[in-house]
Symmetry: C2
Subunit: 716 residues, 2 copies
Amino acid sequence: METLLVDASLSSLLNPASIAIVGASDNPDKIGGRPIYYMHQFGYQGTIYPVNPTRSEVQGEKAWPSLDDLPEVPELVIVAVPGQKAVDAVYRCADLGVKAAIVISAGFSETGDEGRAVQQKMAQRAAEAGLRLIGPNSQGLANFANGAIASFSTMFIEVEPQDGPVAVISQSGGMAAMMYGLLRQRGIGVRHMHATGNEADVTVSDLACAILEQDADIRVVLLYLESLQNPQTLARAALLARERGVTLAVVKSGRSETGARAAGSHTGALASEDRVVDAFLTQHGILRAADPPELARFAELLLNTPASGGTRTVIVSNSGASCVLAADAAEAYGLEIAPLKDETRARLSEKLVDFASTENPIDITAALLTNSRLFGDVLGVISDDPNADMFLLDIPVAGRGYDVAAFAEDTARFARESGKPVAVVAWQQPVAAAFRAQGVAVFEDERQAAAVLAAAARAGAWKRRFAGGEGAAAEQPAVGAGVLAMLDGVQADSSGRRFLSEHESLQVLAGSGFPVVDYELCTTLEAALQAAERLGWPCVLKACSARVPHKSEYGLVDVGLGSTAALEAAWARQSAALERLDVQADGWIVARQVKGLREMAVGLNFDPVFGPVVLMGAGGKYVEAMPDVAALLPPFSRDDVLDRLRGLRVWPLLQGVRGEPPADVEALVQAALRLGRLALVTAGRIQSLDINPVLVLPEGEGAVAVDALVELTEAR
Amino acid sequence: METLLVDASLSSLLNPASIAIVGASDNPDKIGGRPIYYMHQFGYQGTIYPVNPTRSEVQGEKAWPSLDDLPEVPELVIVAVPGQKAVDAVYRCADLGVKAAIVISAGFSETGDEGRAVQQKMAQRAAEAGLRLIGPNSQGLANFANGAIASFSTMFIEVEPQDGPVAVISQSGGMAAMMYGLLRQRGIGVRHMHATGNEADVTVSDLACAILEQDADIRVVLLYLESLQNPQTLARAALLARERGVTLAVVKSGRSETGARAAGSHTGALASEDRVVDAFLTQHGILRAADPPELARFAELLLNTPASGGTRTVIVSNSGASCVLAADAAEAYGLEIAPLKDETRARLSEKLVDFASTENPIDITAALLTNSRLFGDVLGVISDDPNADMFLLDIPVAGRGYDVAAFAEDTARFARESGKPVAVVAWQQPVAAAFRAQGVAVFEDERQAAAVLAAAARAGAWKRRFAGGEGAAAEQPAVGAGVLAMLDGVQADSSGRRFLSEHESLQVLAGSGFPVVDYELCTTLEAALQAAERLGWPCVLKACSARVPHKSEYGLVDVGLGSTAALEAAWARQSAALERLDVQADGWIVARQVKGLREMAVGLNFDPVFGPVVLMGAGGKYVEAMPDVAALLPPFSRDDVLDRLRGLRVWPLLQGVRGEPPADVEALVQAALRLGRLALVTAGRIQSLDINPVLVLPEGEGAVAVDALVELTEAR
């Protein structure tokens, strides 16, 4: 899949060619010693520059008195010196052109107003210099793919690392370490373990986007969040995760009043009401776990089977009591107990002891002790039942006399062949280990298993909802790095302008895959005449300036230009108008004149409460007098768009009335999807985007934007 | 504490002097071999009689061809032969006068109607012979106090037993084994592990009562129930547990519709609506856990600190994020985040780093790494705060550099000294082990800890509610074995009588500690005259027969007999009346004539829906014409009784009006408490108990029952 946007500066955090440690220590248990110790241990291949004014060597590496003395500008600097020294080091990094710094040092915004002011000033200087900052008050980042362990976490000593398909990102270092440890305890490999601390610059969501963009091996991304300061970036991460088939799951703590207050005093962040957070996560298809241990459990099941076809669950146990407990737990988590087909039940009755019930839950009874194949036999029968979406296998008692290895092998084969989620419940460690060794997810009790299966069902429902795609069409370019760079360039523009020119706006649209009228941007009349010849007559001429957003009001738009003479005359008129406005044109748009069947107005608006909203309605000159508009919150599906279009007054016209042909509704739907996706990809950069009109052609002929105006949000 | 009732027949199940095994096997992995193997291994000191017609020796013990060949009647027989052989063995036990049998064999009610009929017939024969039955389809019983392991559970091989203060009782063998294993995994000693199977006779609640009566070392009783067929027995167990300070906690599964259905097909039991079950458990102060693992967690905390003074919880962590998660979890489980006193906060600020918040939750920050005493210091400060009821200590990260042993010692000392519940959260096994080694309860996540603390708070609230006692007065006999034996004797009475005589009824009352008028039961006129001399004139004479419950209607009551002559005349009149009724007197009651200040009617009624109900109201002849009655569901407290008495129309009179002295309300309250307690102790045996009147004397002089009529429920 194509990369949407690679933020190279974040890449310096994840894959630095060289790392300097300011405050490097020879003692591997000191904060300034741990990263070097870990990088040696875990095979970092880049250059390590210990910076320490009092030593010539640190842990076997040549040490340097200061950042200025290094033989090159290091790509990443770890700042592990206290107080003002840390601030000084960051300013020096900015001066030297270092790309990224991780400030481990504490004592900033978490200590109160004074520390907050110092932190803000430091972050501002870094932003001006293009220096990306992690922290301050960060435990650091760790990437086990390349051994770039810029972290002082104790946990890598306590629990041996192993590279794997999981990324853990957290504001809190403690929670990052804990999630890492819980995953490793379950035998799950963890590649990324990052802690962002005070988030003066880079946030958890930023790193999530960077990893989703840059690391194709990652299949599960787990986040611990105490606040949601940049929900649009998290929404972008969710889009990336959906499109790449990656599981994105979060813990958002501070649910309770006291919890939220504690979170505030801990990170100084504002807390959203928890129901709003829940609605936001649901809207974006982000799985929510109650706490880090549950997040680790989500990972165990969803690594192997990220989504389920439904909620219909089959329960199998060698204990009738566990059947009852599992059914209780399943229903408590909203799962349905799958009604088995008669054929399945008939086949089950051949396998089970006489008096065992063939209803779901299936009690295979203690007969398992004498017939070790019973487990595999029963799984073989139920795997064929189309009513079964997921499986909860509950083994409360096993041990001497039970062929647990055979059960585990049978289960693993069954899981592979069925392609459906399988959760085993086993509290006995040897039993759990036997199943884990076969790659089967194991949980300690029925409620834990049911919660994870319910997550798989939610993921499955979201997957089906977006099965039609979200506007990332294969034949058209996705939103490219160029578009985002342009938006960011304008935002960083010191003139403070908020509107893109028509050309820039159309480029943003085109970059999103939205169909745009065929046009050329010309700076001379000669070029304009050539363009018109290529595009065909009649054509449209528009003088283009970002300083004059509403150009038709100023006589800067001429349509239906049928000849060279008409184009020349229009050019002269518009030049005179610009002169009167004392404005220079950025260029002239010469566009093919398109005759649409229907005029629609389509737009994007950033609502202060709801975030991005895509608007669709009847276009043309009566759009304001007779509003007929549908709103959609991204992400939305093809069905969502059709559903809302059907609610418009103009819908019958789109279907074709009074002998007129039907309009190309599907093209309009695809256009709306691309606008929704653009909103997510640009993550809050666009305040509004008006396309009026979108000309919808007859069915099969498409739709096309002939005008567009992008307004940017105020610089972040 | 005095024993309420020792059911000797159940004692044969728990402490048998000899055990015969029908179907004894030399193979310790066979069902008939395991109990012998275990009894050898775990030191059973009684006599073992293997019964096996084909072997002369089994596992080193002399084997016997049949039960009939044994040199004595064994106290307990384990039946481990299949099908009809098992039925035959039970019938033989009945014939031989064996006291108790455990039927491990399956294939009875769980297989359908045919099996159910065989089971019922077998149980009926056992009941007739006074043979107590466990099972059929039972995994058996195990008592590690004496090594009487009449169980074939695999779990004693998987997880080493250790005697301890916990009893586990379950219908399901799997759940019994699982709970045993989960407790042992937490290092908790388990003495009793019993599985009742199909419960043709002895139920989980029966065994709970027996253990609570007979084993003073047990401090936590854990039950797994799928149905509640005999709630009154469970209510009796709850009374015993309250009075002995034992924690009684249950899992009642089948909460969901499918779960209930599965439970039904598993045990053939009717399912109550879960909300009703919940209300019942709450009414009786029985803690409810969601599943066996939670039950084991309850045990870990409540073994050391069975109750809390309130819900105000103090949270301490070395991670700000864990503070947030713990506060979320605490509030989700209804705990209050304790508002710390200003003085506590001032003292905390001396201990903590500058910027740490002294508000609860208390984030002691990573400073713990450099100052190992911080943990103990902070605990020392908060232990003095009167606002703190419970403590949740959360250690998400520790390891190299952390002095975990010191934290654990400090915490254990703190827990001992404060006497308040302390729950530690630590997922790292070495950290958890360090705390457990010091006797501190450890949980894997904040939700688990909060759930257990909430249970301790509930237990505390119940304890405070019943702090005034439940009518088991020290100076008066509790309900003794004699009373229950009498009730059971009448119930078993083949005449089918349902009413006790007045004398029997008054004895039941007196046995419960209820104050009863001074009287003698006489069979001759001479004895009656002597009694009257002793009791003083005037006296009361009542001819007493269980066949004439309403004797005043038949002229069998004479009051105000002031002389020998009057008594003789009354005797003659009543003898003539009896002759007319063709009834023989069981005896004549000669009672002291008491002049009460107020007449009250007090009674006990067994409602088919609500179980036992204690009724109190104005007595006397207008009681039916002008009802003025309050109802109370046992158990209830002194405050509950007072509260209901205040709602009676007669209340002002009890307080004293128009120059009359106040009545002895406290005596009336105590009498009501004793009646409530009698209802629980007799566990549904009494259909109704009418005391009309209870004469309430002036304040300080007591209250006294002068008449009583007990109606029994139909034989069970």
